[in-house]
């Protein structure tokens, strides 16, 4: 079973994974990375501490094989002026 490493980047902070985790396939690793990006994003993004959370997945040779990014965009919109009442 191949081993994958999941590093996490949010803003200036980088959490490397030295231990790795055995995953049945790259698809399985992608799923775990996506869940993790969503979980970390759920905590951090609404607080405004970071606008983007990226999980970088490396294979057993420590080569990067995929990245997953969860991001939050907020747009404030000026409303159109209301038409005068008839």
């Amino acid at each position: 079973v191949p081993r994958f490493y999941f590093d996490v980047r949010e803003g200036a902070s980088f959490t490397p994974d030295d231990e790795g985790l055995e995953c049945a396939s790259l698809d399985a690793a992608e799923r775990l990375a996506a869940e993790s990006a969503a979980e970390i994003g759920r905590d951090l993004l609404p607080k405004g501490d970071a606008r983007e959370v990226t999980v970088e997945v490396r294979n057993e040779h420590r080569q990067r094989v995929l990245t997953v990014t969860a991001s939050l965009e907020i747009h404030r919109v000026d409303p159109e002026p209301l038409p005068p009442r008839a």
């Binding site: 999941f6 590093d7 996490v8 949010e10 902070s13 959490t15 994974d17 231990e19 985790l21 775990l32 990375a33 869940e35 993790s36 979980e39 970390i40 759920r42 905590d43 999980v55």
Partner: protein
């Protein structure tokens, strides 16, 4: 492994310590002390429950396993409590997997014996009922916490409650352990703990987490940690520490 034991050993569990001397004397011939190594599984879902356990320094988690194989901790038991009785009082079947998360020892008694003793000993029954109410309150609080609060806060709760249970600042917990208990990915736990470390709240060693700033962690924990603690203090005799 079963060890020979004295009353003093059994009293390391706070419920056994709170028993009237004659009630403890009644149970004592039937109580064994067992060593619980880390990772030991005491019951799998639907296993028949044979023994009720009263942990000393061990912490045991009840883990619910979903159909697709995901799992999450739904209750945990340390020296403040017991397991293998209340949630099996009629069926005598394990609800989920009981796994030793923090190694240590526990006193153990056959479920027949304790159920029999509860019928004839009102003070023992009253104590078990008090614990049942506290455990149910803990469960209600945890359901709300899991639905609403952040992984960061829940992780803090876990570090603090484990510290309370074992009375040590060095917690023998890995990132994988915490991921299992919180129902999240391990890299989510690693990221959260790294933030705590950068804030000077914890230090990390291989296979362990050391609490460096308890008050700081309490600020990040949600209300649930304090509420559960208060419930236990109100319903059960607790040490003054």
């Amino acid at each position: 492994m079963v060890l020979s034991a004295s009353k003093a050993d059994h009293r390391r569990n706070l419920l056994l310590a709170a028993l009237e001397p004659e009630d403890l004397a009644h149970l004592e011939p039937h109580l064994d002390i067992v060593i619980l190594p880390k990772g030991t599984i005491l019951y799998e879902p639907h296993d028949p429950i044979r023994y009720t356990y009263f942990p000393h320094d061990a912490v045991v988690c009840l883990i619910n396993i979903m159909e697709e194989g995901q799992f999450v901790e739904v209750a945990s038991f340390g020296r403040e409590g017991l397991f293998g009785l209340i949630s099996a009082i009629v069926s005598r079947e394990a609800f989920g997997r009981y796994k030793v998360q923090v190694p240590g020892t526990a006193s153990r008694i056959a479920i027949d014996r304790i159920q029999q003793a509860m019928r004839t000993r009102p003070k023992l029954r009253r104590l078990v009922l008090g614990y049942s109410e506290a455990l149910l309150a803990q469960t209600f609080q945890t359901v709300s916490c899991n639905a609403i609060h952040t992984v960061e806060a829940r992780c803090c709760n876990w570090l603090l409650s484990t510290r309370d249970r074992i009375d040590e600042d060095v917690l023998p917990l890995t990132h994988a352990d915490l991921a299992e208990m919180l129902g999240v990915q391990r890299s989510t736990v690693s990221t959260t703990l790294r933030t705590f470390q950068m804030q000077g709240l914890i230090t990390q060693q291989r296979g362990g987490i050391t609490i460096a700033d308890r008050a700081g962690l309490e600020e990040i924990a949600c209300e649930c940690y304090g509420k559960i603690r208060q419930t236990f203090t109100r319903l059960l005799p607790m040490p003054s520490s």
